[in-house]
Point group: C2
């Protein structure tokens, strides 16, 4: 039940990126550290979000990921869409023909629940979550900031570690 790990990662990652927008592009390794998710797999997920028009990616030093739209314009539905098509079949007993015309025994009751879930994803924006939960938002940003400090981009040729 609920979201696939990939869809969960995509949501969490977008929240990280949006929350750290003021600090510039966010790198895969930084996000991976916050999520506790595997780097390359996450990279693929983020790339998918880029193809979906949700993120913009840049390579090389000063590269990383940024939002394309303002967080107020980005719904959760758009973020998870590539991984969890929301409008999919949703008859709770799996009847292919279930609908208002030929409802299964649970159709009425379940439709109303399913609709409220869909509404949550369609109406809630990234901005909503960020502004309602400053504590969680700051926590993720701090993890990223301190990762940058300890792993500072040194001038070329200087000593590392």
């Amino acid at each position: 039940m609920w979201l696939s790990t990939t869809a969960q990662n995509s949501l969490y990652a977008v929240l990280c990126i949006a929350g750290s927008a003021d600090d510039g592009p966010v790198r895969v390794d930084e996000i991976a550290a916050v999520l506790g998710a595997p780097r390359n797999y996450l990279s693929k997920t983020l790339h998918t979000l880029a193809r979906a028009g949700v993120l913009r990616s840049g390579r090389g030093p000063a590269g990383g990921f940024q939002l394309v739209d303002r967080p107020e314009r980005l719904t959760l539905a758009r973020v998870i869409a590539p991984f969890e098509p929301l409008s999919e079949r949703r008859c709770i007993v799996g009847r292919p023909a279930c609908g208002d015309a030929h409802p299964c025994a649970a159709h009425r009751r379940w439709s109303s629940i399913a609709a409220s879930v869909e509404e949550f994803f369609n109406k809630t924006t990234i901005a909503t979550l960020l502004s309602e939960n400053p504590r969680a938002t700051n926590a993720a940003r701090e993890v990223i900031r301190s990762a940058r400090l300890s792993n500072r981009r040194m001038p070329h040729g200087s000593v590392k570690r």
Copy 2:
């Protein structure tokens, strides 16, 4: 998202069995015909429901599956529990530590949605669905009845087909 096919089958099957209770035990083949699901796989699913105390099974002629409890006492949650443990992790971004104490950015809003879904499964009973949807209930029962007529249990030695 939503239920696994196995959980969907278990719900649909239990509805069939409950709806045909007056006609005696229901056989796997009959349920499989209604669901359009593979016989042996469904058999395994029903067996799991039997081990879970939801169904009673009998072998041989006059065998099949019956409910253990009255439909009024059987919630949807109990039916899907063996396949879709309802109380599982439900943080929408997959944070292991997410909870009221250390909420993720979406915790508040999502918890309320998740709670209403859980309530649906915990409060809705098989009897509710049967009585609210006589049309769907009868349709399934008729499929089973006509299957029995055309595939009648003939006296030993008589001609088949």
